[in-house]
């Protein structure tokens, strides 16, 4: 018998209605007003990001925790936030490959740097080193992180 392949076992499953409803509630609370279609697209883009990073996810994934971590960011606006969230999602998996930090620690570090050092730019955040992310997650100030980077 042929071996069961990882692709078969980890084939994407549609996002649950409950998870969608939670995310819609969260985005509404912070005025992001994401629609069901936008969220579903964000979930779908997760598969491309995972494939690009050479990773697999077996649960509902990082989309909801990511939204929870970034929804209150002062740099995230209703207009175009789904694009920024998709970029952050892609960055998240790249950062995971660079240093296997726990998800919540990495999300904390990403959020801190996004709001401070990166000035709300996902492109700038992409240049953050794993060390800078780890320091940010531990609550070190941006200046300290800058000193560390020199």
């Amino acid at each position: 018998m042929e071996k069961l392949s990882l692709q078969e076992v980890t084939a994407p499953v549609p996002v649950s209605g409950a998870a969608l409803a939670r995310c819609i509630g969260l985005s509404d609370r912070y005025g992001l007003r994401l629609t069901e279609a936008q969220l579903a697209a964000l979930w779908a883009r997760r598969q491309d990001s995972l494939r690009a990073a050479g990773r697999v996810e077996l649960g509902e994934g990082i989309t909801e925790p990511l939204l929870r971590a970034f929804a209150s960011s002062p740099f995230l606006f209703a207009d175009g936030c789904e694009t920024t969230l998709a970029e952050l999602q892609e960055l998240f998996y790249q950062f995971k490959n660079a240093a296997e930090q726990p998800d919540d620690e990495l999300l904390t570090g990403m959020r801190v740097l996004f709001d401070t050092w990166a000035g709300g730019s996902a492109e700038r955040l992409a240049d953050a080193s794993p060390r800078r992310l780890a320091r940010a997650a531990r609550g070190l100030t941006d200046e300290e992180a800058e000193d560390d980077g020199k």
Partner: protein, 317 residues
């Protein structure tokens, strides 16, 4: 279709999808344990290894087995499978201890290093996440290699079983004579990863076939001629049967019944080489002249006196 044929029939698409769904759920739980619930994703390579380990533990390798698993709680089957593997590890360890105690006194570095590396297997083997892996360096080649379809502790157990059968055969002869026979065919047999059993078994079976004493493990020019004369008039099935019979008789006579199937196989596999050598008119390529000066027991002074078993135990402390 009979019941067995029905059980072995390929899975239907519905059965396959049902199993994949349940396997996915179990894999997700194992992955969560592996990452200590700290990560929702993991590298594809790691996930592939976890999946292989899971399938190995569940023995999900045939349609019949998967059908049985569909009727059961997969989590319970996984726990049962892990317990079974732990029992297999215990049995495998006993085999390894026996193999270390019975190690032939032939000074083979590859055999010694292999046994030492297997000692480390019992510390490194990860039955929870990587049960299909074999964290040991196995350099010593067996007469009959272990099928590649086996994995993890199953592979190692079979390797050690086969190694013990070889050991049983080697212990039926004088080590000094064996060293001489081995050095005649391969002077660097101690350093090189070569099998020790085949040359000894071939010489012994050939000598038994011509009615000579197998103990010297050396065929003279006369013995080689006699052997060629005995085999020449026979067709291949007859010659193979004769060789197998000689091997079986030899094992009985030397109280090495455990090695009988192995020696019969060695003897049967010898036939094509004998035929080729007979066609060339020179059997000395198969049975080279053995020099009694080549290897004396003193030559083993470079061998470490500690057995692999002792070393394995020391490392583990």
């Amino acid at each position: 279709m009979t019941g067995n044929e029905l059980a072995d029939a390929p899975l239907t698409e519905e059965e396959r999808q049902r199993f994949l769904l349940r396997l996915r759920a179990l894999l997700a739980r194992r992955a969560a344990c592996f990452t200590m619930c700290e990560s929702t994703s993991l590298p594809a390579e790691t996930a592939r290894e976890l999946l292989e380990s899971l399938c190995f533990t569940l023995r999900a390798d045939s349609p019949a087995r998967i059908r049985r698993l569909l009727d059961r709680d997969l989590e319970e089957e996984y726990v049962r499978g892990t317990a079974l593997l732990r029992e297999k590890i215990r049995r495998c360890r006993r085999l390894w201890e026996t193999a270390c105690l019975m190690e032939p006194e032939l000074g083979s570095v590859s055999l010694r290093e292999t046994l030492r590396s297997i000692g480390g297997f019992f510390r490194r083997y990860d039955v929870r996440y990587f049960a299909h892996q074999l964290p040991a360096g196995i350099d010593y080649p067996l007469c009959a290699p272990v099928p590649e379809t086996l994995a993890g502790v199953d592979y190692l157990t079979e390797y050690l079983r086969r190694l013990l059968a070889e050991t049983a055969l080697l212990r039926a002869f004088d080590p000094l004579r064996e060293r001489q026979a081995l050095a005649a065919g391969c002077p660097w047999y101690r350093a090189a990863p070569v099998n020790l059993c085949r040359p000894v078994g071939e010489a012994a079976a050939a000598l038994r076939l011509i009615g000579a004493d197998p103990a010297p493990l050396a065929l003279t020019a006369d013995s080689r001629r006699t052997l060629a004369e005995r085999l020449a008039p026979l067709d291949d099935p007859e010659a193979e049967a004769l060789l197998r019979r000689a091997a079986g008789d030899l094992c009985r006579e030397r109280n090495a019944e455990a090695a009988a199937p192995l020696l019969e196989r060695i003897a049967a596999e010898l036939l094509p080489r004998l035929r080729a050598a007979m066609a060339a008119g020179d059997l000395s390529e198969v049975f080279p002249e053995v020099s009694r000066e080549q290897t004396k027991s003193g030559d083993l002074r470079d061998m470490d006196t500690n057995s692999c078993y002792d070393r394995g135990r020391t490392t583990e402390r």
